[in-house]
């Protein structure tokens, strides 16, 4: 519709000034009158029953308003389906304070509400609760034989495709073979912002929940069903989210408890979880992966098998796509993929950044490295020989796939040709071992149904809104850019609003689909507004646009002008003022074009080159250099997209070298449930990271040509680093994270 003025540019975040000055408001920061404070008490046992709660002792304290537990929780929705949110897996969702049964360690068992924060915390410290303990099972290792294949259940889960060819026979007969098991422990999202809800009591049963969530509509639906509220009486707001990474996809117990308490007490309630309690809900599951690869004499893959087993809770079957990627990333005619779950006395796992693919790419990409060495091939050359031109899982062509360009451009940038293949063959000037490794992956490019609204006022200011989320992804900025570009306005003349159920519905902020989904809705809505503006412009006396159709004009520099003759233009502001309207509005929505899309496999790809330096005597590993080459369609904002990939690399470094939630099976509890012992990288751990976006045009995925960038960048990072550690030391670590003791 107009020339590119904004899309693709490295525009600074429009919400940047609010974030750097502390004026951006997060869920626990809304000042509401007459506020009370809640404090959650968590179960110390992993399985059993609550036998007594000595609430009376605490209620005697002046200023303590209530102790909520299963003993006095109000009567709520009866059926499981009322508790199922948009991404609930199959099974029976956890109901906070529902009965006296304990299903996992740190389960919320009571909520103390008091007049102020200090008193709520103090009162909670006094509460005595008696339990009857039962034997729990929390070890995946003991459940190897108890795996089962889950049903479809959860949105987005695809069971592995059926086997193709004859993988067992092909493996037996091939000249080069490998098989190995790969393991990583549980991981917790740990966004910086604690889960919190400020539930504002608006009188007469009306609630506004300022909640930490990646989907305000998902939370609204959850609350209205459980508490029997009308949608109009239950507004959910999230203007800023201090990191999500998937933790806010499902409504968490904090919002349930805060809203329940507010409705019962008819007071506003603020509830913030502690960092310890951030380990009491979803996590990336502890996963065992088994891979079996074989290669022909010419370096082509002869057989590939990938099987995964991970934990889930007793009450829900959490699923993610771990192994499917292995059937489509490389060309191979003999493939068998398997995926199983095992039930433990833990909380249900939860999608965590690149769920499934981050896990699967560890197994596949370390196995590919092992296979390359077995076959005597350079790991990059090995991948090039097995390049998949077609998605063999679905037997469809890719809508676009520039992974080969990622390989070449990434290798050139990194200097891969200077690598010597033998482990331990490269050292720096200080004598430290140098290792270079690669790893990559593939991620879905999806689009979900979204709606948006646009309104332009007489002064020429455009406000566009959709209830999307902003958790650091840059949503405010890219939507502003799309709107500004579509209607030819400067960035400053556009405001984008999000995160509020009073706005048109947007999907959950996840799956890397916001740019494609909400972005397309914003584009369509602005185009609809443009059409209205054109009609108004044609009503002007002597309008040079008379008779012009929408496709005959363009919106540039605050004007509508003829494409064929740029001098034939009208100023938008003049149109608005002459119209006599105070504002002109339009709303629209966007759906994926299924007919067009279903003929293709829609995916983004990447490859990561990593350099590590290893101190032989100390076993310490430093990731000194990373190049991440990504093919993810059109990049809307080079600055924010680069930041997403930089962050993904940090996540990958963390996964490779630091991150693991360690379970003490005696107590059935995660032991390192704090920021000091749950290790994530700090500034000193991060060195040079280079991000390359390979040009990739795609008019099939969606009208914007974007594939999403929040997850693909994380794929293969942990494998690349682990492979680099092998290259440096000759030690093949298959149990992540790679810690010092595994190298000494």
């Amino acid at each position: 519709m107009s020339t590119t003025n904004h899309i693709g540019k490295p525009t600074s975040r429009v919400d940047g000034p609010a974030k750097v000055t502390g004026t951006a408001r997060y869920a626990a920061e809304y000042a509401v009158p007459d506020l009370t404070y809640g404090w959650v008490i968590s179960s110390p046992i992993a399985k059993g029953k609550i036998t007594k709660i000595h609430a009376d002792e605490v209620l005697a304290l002046p200023g303590v308003l209530q102790v909520f537990s299963h003993e006095n929780v109000p009567s709520l929705a009866w059926f499981d389906r009322s508790y199922k949110d948009q991404v609930a897996p199959g099974g029976s969702p956890f109901r906070p304070l529902h009965d006296n049964e304990i299903k996992f360690s740190q389960q919320p068992v009571a909520l103390v509400v008091a007049e102020n924060f200090e008193l709520a915390r103090y009162a909670a410290s006094l509460l005595r609760i008696e339990y009857e303990q039962e034997k729990h099972e929390t070890s995946l290792e003991t459940k190897r034989e108890d795996g089962f294949e889950p049903g479809r259940g959860k949105t987005g889960y695809m069971p592995p495709p059926p086997p193709r060819g004859n993988p067992d026979k092909a493996w037996e007969e091939a000249p080069h073979r490998m098989e190995a098991e790969y393991v990583h422990g549980a991981q917790h999202h740990n966004p910086m912002e604690l889960f919190a809800t400020t539930a504002e009591w608006r009188g007469e049963g009306k609630i506004t929940a300022y909640d930490k969530t990646q989907g305000v509509y998902n939370v609204q639906q959850y609350l209205t069903k459980i508490f029997g509220l009308k949608k109009d009486d239950c507004r959910v707001v999230n203007e800023y989210m201090g990191g999500g990474f998937g933790s806010g996809l499902r409504p968490q117990y904090s919002v349930f408890l805060a809203v329940m308490a507010a409705l019962e007490l008819k007071r506003s309630v603020r509830l913030t979880l502690t960092r310890q309690q951030m380990f009491s809900f979803g996590h990336r599951p502890h996963t065992l992966q088994y891979l079996k690869l074989a290669t022909n004499a010419d370096g082509t893959l002869a057989a590939l098998q990938h099987h995964a087993l991970h934990e889930t809770s007793r009450f829900e079957d959490y699923t993610e796509n771990v192994v499917n990627w292995s059937g489509m990333l490389y060309q191979c005619d003999n493939v068998k993929l398997g995926y199983q779950l095992a039930k433990l006395d833990v909380y249900t796992p939860l999608d965590m950044r690149a769920p499934g693919a981050a896990t699967g790419s560890i197994g596949l990409e370390i196995a590919m490295d092992e296979m390359a060495y077995e076959a005597g091939l350079d790991p990059l050359e090995f991948r090039l020989r097995n390049y998949a031109e077609r998605d063999q899982n679905q037997d469809k062509p890719f809508s676009s796939k520039k992974l080969r360009e990622c390989y070449h451009q990434g290798a050139a940038k990194f200097g891969w040709d200077k690598r010597t293949q033998a482990p331990g063959s490269m050292r720096d000037k200080d004598g430290k071992l140098i290792g270079w490794g690669i790893g990559g992956g593939v991620w879905d490019a999806t689009q979900q149904k979204s709606a948006a609204k646009a309104s332009i006022t007489a002064d020429g200011h455009l406000t566009v809104s959709s209830a999307a989320g902003e958790n650091g992804t840059g949503t405010y900025t890219i939507m502003t850019q799309i709107a500004a570009e579509t209607l030819g306005l400067p960035i400053e003349a556009v405001t984008f609003k999000l995160g509020d159920t009073d706005l048109p519905e947007a999907p959950l902020q996840g799956g890397s689909w916001t740019a494609a989904s909400v972005g397309t809705a914003v584009k369509n809505t602005c185009e609809a507004l443009g059409e209205k503006l054109l009609k108004l412009a044609q009503k002007l006396d002597d309008s040079p646009l008379k008779g012009a159709k929408l496709e005959d004009v363009e919106f540039v520099n605050g004007q509508i002008r003829l494409r064929s003759d740029a001098s034939q233009a009208v100023v938008l502001r003049d149109v608005l003022q002459a119209s006599g309207e105070t504002k002109v509005e339009a709303d629209s929505s966007a759906m994926p074009n299924m007919l067009k899309q279903q003929q293709y496999s829609l995916h983004s790809h990447n490859i990561v080159f990593a350099e590590v330096k290893v101190d032989e005597e100390l076993g310490t590993v430093h990731v000194t250099r990373v190049v991440n080459a990504v093919a993810a369609g059109r990049i809307l904002n080079l600055k924010t997209a680069r930041s997403q990939v930089l962050g993904s690399v940090v996540w990958g470094i963390s996964m490779a070298l630091m991150e693991e939630t360690v379970m003490d099976h005696k107590f059935g509890r995660y032991m390192n449930h704090n920021y000091a012992e749950y290790h994530v990288p700090v500034n000193a751990d991060i060195h040079d990271i280079d991000v390359l976006f390979v040009e990739e045009e795609d008019d099939i995925v969606n009208p914007l040509g974007v594939k999403g960038i929040g997850e693909v960048g994380m794929l293969g990072v942990a494998a690349a680093i682990t492979n680099a550690v092998f290259h440096a030391t000759g030690k093949r670590v298959r149990d992540l994270p790679v810690m010092i003791d595994k190298l000494l």
Binding site: A28, T272, R275, N683
Partner: protein, 179 residues
């Protein structure tokens, strides 16, 4: 089993009423406030819950993440690890005291320019910490900045941008000193 209260007074068999609140005088961003606080109110909670200065963030409440970093007489501290009552007659500077969206502090501007954040939740703490670092005058090289900014966790992983933003201001300051 019985979940023992975490409070030792209660373990001894009684439920004691909390000690009374008292007035606490605080000077924040040049402005004087007198708050009525329980004596164990942390400086962080006093800022966030009593003064609505929510720019200072709570990420762990244990001094492990740095999101609550503020400046006390120019020195950076974790405001979650200290009680409000300990800071009477000291000058406390929070992110709100450094700049506003209309008039950004040079560090705030550098953070925007270098995209030194994503979700923004650790950002006020990072910026206060960087100001503390500038006041200390001991970080000059990239390695030194990385090391001395390592008390502030950024889960989004914006460390490359944080380094570049802080480096830009450090370099500018040292060139001003030279000239």
């Amino acid at each position: 089993m019985t979940q023992q209260p975490t409070n030792s007074a209660a373990r001894a068999g009684g439920v004691a009423a909390p000690p009374p609140t008292g007035p606490v005088r605080l000077t924040i961003n040049g402005q004087q406030h007198t708050l009525q606080l329980a004596p164990w109110t942390t400086l962080l909670d006093a800022l966030r819950e009593y003064l609505h200065l929510t720019g200072t963030k709570k990420g762990c409440d244990h001094g492990q993440c740095g999101a609550c970093t503020v400046l006390v007489d120019g020195k950076r501290i974790n405001s979650c690890l200290t009680l409000a009552v300990m800071h009477e007659d000291e000058d406390i500077t929070t992110i709100e005291g450094l700049g506003t969206p209309e008039t950004l502090h040079p560090l705030q501007q550098a953070f925007v320019d270098h995209d030194a954040f994503q979700c923004g939740y650790c950002t006020p703490g990072q910026i206060c910490s960087a100001q503390g670092l500038l006041n200390e005058g001991r970080a000059h090289t990239e390695a030194e900045i990385r090391e001395h900014m390592s008390g502030n966790v950024c889960r989004c992983g914006a460390y490359v941008g944080i380094l570049n933003a802080v480096k830009e201001v450090v370099d500018r300051k040292s060139s001003e000193h030279r000239s």
